[in-house]
Symmetry: C2
Subunit: 230 residues, 2 copies
């Protein structure tokens, strides 16, 4: 059985249903910061904006709710989920834990093609950083990490990690503007890839843990500062 073949490069005919497309779009807009935490999403308004009925919007809401990006109350509608610093802390600890496991299992399985693909993403990531293209940086950042984890062949874990990353990503994006930790993060990305090329599991995992912890600490303190002035 060729169980490991994740269909990464198949075209996968855009058999995407409208609710899914809507969910993607709305998720991106939430990550962009266009919809801020606490802001309420009105079905009718979005339906009109996307020129469809309210029903696909409702189904998209269900997906976003399952992803933890919005919270809905009966007869009260949907609001963008807030994220207390405490919760961010927990999510980053989850990332450290789960992504370490993924990387550890991935490195022995990495082919040269895998590494080249990661390299390619990293190049784009660096470019986005230089151009200060925040949104592009955000999605490429996750794309780079993801590309390192895919060879682990752990789809369930990867899906969970992806959910966690999406939940925190919008705050990361906000922070990109004001923080210098990203300068370091850039270099760490490059170093991380080199460790992977060298198949140095120990060093790679250690660096990854520190990489995520730094980002988490930076984000948490930022959130705490924000919550004080609010």
């Amino acid at each position: 059985m060729k169980s490991g073949m994740g269909l990464t490069k198949s075209h996968s005919l855009k058999r995407q249903s409208l609710p899914e497309a809507l969910a993607d779009s709305l998720r991106e807009r939430i990550l962009n910061g266009e919809f801020k935490p606490g802001e309420s999403l009105v079905q009718e308004a979005l339906a009109e904006e996307y020129e469809c009925s309210r029903m696909p919007v409702r189904e998209a809401f269900r997906q976003l709710e399952a992803a933890g990006l919005i919270v809905t109350k009966v007869h009260k509608g949907a609001v963008v989920a807030a994220m207390p610093a405490e919760q961010a802390q927990e999510l980053y600890e989850l990332r450290v834990n789960l992504e370490s496991v993924l990387l550890e299992h991935a490195i022995p399985n990495m082919t040269d093609a895998d590494l080249d693909a990661s390299e390619q993403v990293l190049r784009e990531l660096e470019k986005a950083y230089e151009e200060r293209d925040i949104n592009r940086w955000g999605s490429l950042n996750w794309e780079f990490h993801r590309s390192l984890y895919v060879p682990a062949n752990r789809t369930q874990t990867l899906a969970i990690v992806q959910g966690v990353n999406l939940q925190v990503e919008r705050y990361v994006r906000l922070q990109l503007l004001i923080s210098e930790t990203f300068e370091a993060a850039q270099k760490e990305h490059r170093a991380l890839l080199e460790y992977c090329r060298a198949r140095n599991v120990e060093a790679a995992v250690a660096l990854l843990k520190q990489h995520i912890r730094d980002a988490g600490d930076s984000l948490v303190s930022s959130l705490e500062a924000r919550s004080v002035d609010a």
Copy 2:
């Protein structure tokens, strides 16, 4: 606080929206094995059975899909998700990893009331075991584990772990009939609680890991055996 309400079609305290109630009911039916893996769920049939329109059913499907219990294809409907042995393996490794962390953080926070509550659940669990009430045992088993993790105050992690447990629970239930590992599991539950009472983190975590690994190995080999004859 017994969550056994079985959707009494009238207005039974509906702080819970209809789609959620439906999702609960359908989830339970899937876990019970009433709907088997591969079986397709028809919106119209379920709508008629629950005496409502298809729309709440559709929204319930979204929730179940997000939980990984069903998979849906556009214009082709929903089928109950299967679980290859490989996937079960991964999910159990996730359990070992995440539940260890939870228990480790929970034990120092446990109050006497927490421990008594767990004791209470354990009593019911033992009773269900003696009476061979599979479904009740299944939900109480998770309830017991959950009660041990709640004091960790990690809602995100707990939610993820709950999802993982729900995904594997139906196979565990099927297996309860044919396996003897549950005899051991029963004793381990009791021992686990005692370690918690003694605040012996080391021993408790070690036992928990073995407890989950045993269950996982047993389930995986059972799934592999099943896949061969199929």
